[in-house]
């Protein structure tokens, strides 16, 4: 037999060497390319669906939108809430109702749409605020009167009244991302997944649905550059899967499941840094008050009394998270020490009997995620204990986030839903989603209370901490009384990153892609 191998190398020794090489390559964890500052690979918990700042659907989209459409300001990364300028050279509040801004002189739009001007700022902000456009984020600019263009780069934002959340939950969000008037008017519609006239530190280079989104450094961005040539964003819904991906070397940064935090903190993977951040998010069980099976308030109150919230949270988060008493996290005005209903199965049974609803069957919709499923099963057991048969329905993220939408065909069939909303550091950003205008948008419980709405409006102009504290506590008491809400937890945020990466994170652990840098 002809020996094709060089020298004394036999076939057997060649195979042995290859085997050893293969084994060695598996023993050394693969590292992503973040070490040389070329590519950063991060996980997002959902894929993008809309890249229009006015119609965005999820937090991961916020991050992409902020990276590709230059915002006036972004949140300051670090442990203290604040903001830093991006598209502006200067921005300041002149009085309660006037903000002056001056844009940087050389920010351009791609696709030949020229330089960003103050008129683009006027267009972008007024477009979002205009009720005719039905932006779910119109409330961010609820106090806007108009944007006045002073000259090519500067202007004034005029408010109708004092608006306390302006610098916390309006300006440092995609609500202040600037679009090209010319591009948008030519397009005549909202931006979906093919952005035109991008202007940020990064540009959307590629989107492979359900697989990968690639942001590439904008070669025409003349200011502080993004930290990486490319950012690869991998949509992975389940945090446990993302953790496996990180440990396999496929990711440089990911949120972890809260339940994994104790293990990861105790025994972090080699070359990894584990972070735990206080979360502002809130998780709750919502009850659709317009669903025929839940229209009787006694049934909704019975469900509130049937749920052992401490056990639900302990089981789902393995003791790593505490129980929430509302939608507003500790430290913010309106944070409560208790809810107005307690865990009382006997009372729940009595209310059900009074309502003639023994043997009731309900459906609980959840996002297909391990923590939610665990929480749902405890809720299911709690409800079974008082005689309610609960069927759990798991949904992928694309389906889940449309369940309560009035544009869909399921919103009236929706009964119980386990939801989680992210949050900005102002209580109004939590309360706004439960106003009557949000019924069928994000208010899936269809909670419709005029007093709540009036208090919400009052909270937007009141800046004394004690007064705001009282307003938002009263609003959450109204939510309790409606029987539509069982508040569960604010979670904590767990994140893990390579020690070769310096992550750009808000104080609550949410990422700012444009602020990630090589360590």
């Amino acid at each position: 037999m002809t020996n094709y191998l060089p020298g004394d190398l036999s076939r057997r020794s060649f195979l042995a060497a290859m085997g050893a090489f293969g084994a060695a390559s598996m023993a050394v964890p693969r590292m992503a390319l973040s070490q040389d500052g070329t590519v950063l690979t991060v996980r997002s918990y959902s894929d993008l669906q809309v890249l229009d700042p006015a119609y965005r659907l999820s937090l991961p989209e916020d991050d992409i939108i902020r990276s590709i459409f230059a915002p006036l300001v972004i949140p300051q990364p670090g442990d203290v809430w604040g903001w830093k300028p991006v598209a502006v050279d200067s921005i300041e509040q002149l009085d309660d109702t006037t903000v002056a801004f001056t844009l940087k002189d050389n920010i351009g739009f791609t696709d030949g749409y020229g330089q960003m001007t103050a008129d683009d700022v006027k267009f972008s902000i007024e477009r979002m605020a205009d009720p005719a456009n039905e932006s779910p984020y119109a409330g961010d600019w609820a106090a806007l009167k108009e944007v006045e263009v002073k000259d090519r780069l500067s202007g004034l934002i005029h408010l109708k009244n004092k608006f306390v959340p302006l610098w916390t939950t309006t300006l440092p969000t995609p609500a202040a991302c600037i679009l090209s008037r010319k591009a948008m008017e030519e397009m005549g519609d909202k931006i979906t997944t093919e952005p035109v006239a991008q202007s940020g530190q990064y540009l959307l280079a590629d989107w492979q649905p359900k697989q990968k989104t690639i942001l590439r450094r904008n070669p025409d961005w003349a200011h502080e550059p993004g930290g990486y040539e490319e950012i690869h964003i991998i949509p992975i819904e389940d945090p446990a899967t993302a953790e496996r991906g990180f440990e396999a070397g496929d990711l440089d940064y990911t949120w972890t499941s809260v339940s994994s935090l104790p293990r990861l903190k105790e025994n972090p993977p080699a070359g990894a840094v584990v972070l735990e951040k206080p979360s502002l998010a809130y998780v709750w069980l919502g009850l659709n008050q317009d669903n025929p099976a839940l229209q009787d308030i006694r049934i909704r109150r019975a469900i509130q009394h049937a749920i052992d919230r401490q056990t639900v949270v302990d089981a789902a988060y393995f003791g790593a998270a505490g129980v929430a008493n509302g939608i507003i996290a500790p430290g913010l005005p309106g944070s409560r020490d208790a809810v107005t209903y307690d865990y009382d199965p006997d009372k729940a049974r009595a209310l059900l009997a009074e309502a003639g609803a023994e043997g009731l069957t309900v459906t609980l919709d959840i996002l297909n995620q391990s923590e939610r499923l665990t929480a749902a099963q405890v809720i299911q057991a709690n409800l079974a204990d008082v005689g309610i048969n609960c069927e759990i329905k798991q949904n992928d993220s694309g389906t889940f986030w449309t369940l309560g939408s009035k544009d869909g065909d399921y919103f009236m069939d929706l009964q119980l839903v386990l939801s989680r909303f992210s949050m900005q550091p102002d209580p109004s950003w939590a309360s706004v989603w439960f106003t009557p205008e949000q019924v069928g948008v994000w208010n899936w419980e269809r909670f419709d209370n005029a007093e709540y709405k009036a208090l919400h409006d009052q909270g937007l102009v009141e800046d004394a901490f004690a007064a705001r504290d009282e307003i938002y506590k009263k609003m959450q008491a109204l939510m309790d009384e409606s029987g539509c809400y069982v508040f569960l937890t604010h979670e904590v945020v767990g994140a893990i990153h390579r020690d070769t990466v310096q992550p750009g994170l808000k104080p609550n652990g949410e990422s700012l892609y444009s602020e990630f840098k090589p360590a």
């Binding site: 499923l373 099963q377 405890v378 759990i392 329905k393």
Partner: protein
């Protein structure tokens, strides 16, 4: 009489004489026995949660440990076996019944009908199983019924194609022509003369498909597309364990081991059945 009994037991003896066949029978009996006697063998109610007992390792109290909700895994595995076997047996039987009927019609019927049905079989077959499952679950929601429908849809075209091919070969044979000339109708020809001659190999094939069906059910439940919680299912147990695989590997082992044993059992049994009843196919596949 004794000769007849001896003849009846001969295939069984041949099966048991094959080491893999004996092992297959033993594993299948173990799984079936566990499922049938689940209520008697389980100390705990399989869906009873007890958060205080979560993540306990295997012990005499909990033979396979407990999951994240403190549920006894041994009880869940036994009851999960019921789901797996019920889905496998029911959906395979339904697939066989539908496949045989459609295959006979395609093979014995007119050419245009044959072509139409082939197009239908190939169209269904061209759907990837997971895509089909996702589409059905989107339409009807996750449930045991959805799992059965997916399995039936996936299996029917294969069975029907085999029956059609054999029917085509038999319909021109002399004994069929003789039956037709003696006045036998189409239904009688198909039922009495063709079906008994084509169904044998299909039964062997079906027994080898059972582990595939069990894997489909487990896979769908793992993905949250199968049985609804808290119904125990091997796939759901795997999913529960996947979250905490680093610290509590026994959950994944408890969910995975029965799938492996059942797959091996039915595969060994099916292959030995094939070798015993159709020696021409020995060593193939």
């Amino acid at each position: 009489m004794s000769a007849a009994v001896s003849d009846a037991w001969r295939p069984v003896r041949r099966l048991l004489a094959e080491p893999l066949g004996a092992l297959g029978i033993a594993l299948v009996l173990l799984v079936i026995g566990g499922a049938v006697l689940a209520d008697w063998l389980s100390v705990y109610e399989p869906s009873r949660i007890s958060p205080r007992d979560r993540f306990q390792g295997p012990s005499w109290t909990h033979l396979l440990g407990t999951d994240q909700l403190g549920r006894d895994l041994f009880s869940r595995v036994l009851h999960g076996g019921r789901i797996a076997l019920s889905v496998a047996l029911f959906s395979t039987a339904a697939s066989l019944a539908i496949g045989v009927v459609l295959g006979l019609i395609a093979g014995y019927g007119p050419r245009w009908l044959d072509n139409l049905m082939l197009l239908l079989f190939d169209s269904i077959k061209s759907f990837p199983t997971v895509m089909l499952a996702l589409a059905l679950v989107t339409l009807f929601g996750p449930s045991l019924t959805a799992v059965v429908v997916v399995v039936v849809l996936v299996n029917v075209p294969g069975y029907a194609r085999i029956i059609r091919t054999q029917t085509l070969a038999l319909k021109e044979s002399e004994f069929v022509t003789a039956a037709q000339s003696m006045g036998a109708g189409t239904a009688r020809v198909l039922r009495v003369h063709i079906m008994p001659n084509v169904i044998g190999p299909l039964l062997i094939l079906a027994s080898m498909d059972i582990p595939v069906v069990i894997a489909i059910e487990a896979g769908m439940s793992f993905l949250g597309l199968g049985v609804r919680p808290p119904t125990p299912s091997w796939g759901a147990i795997l999913n529960d364990g996947f979250t905490a695989i680093r610290d509590t590997p026994w959950i994944v082992i408890a969910g995975g081991l029965p799938i492996i044993l059942t797959t091996l059992g039915f595969t060994f049994l099916g292959e030995t059945l094939r070798d015993v009843f159709d020696p021409r196919l020995k060593g193939r596949g």
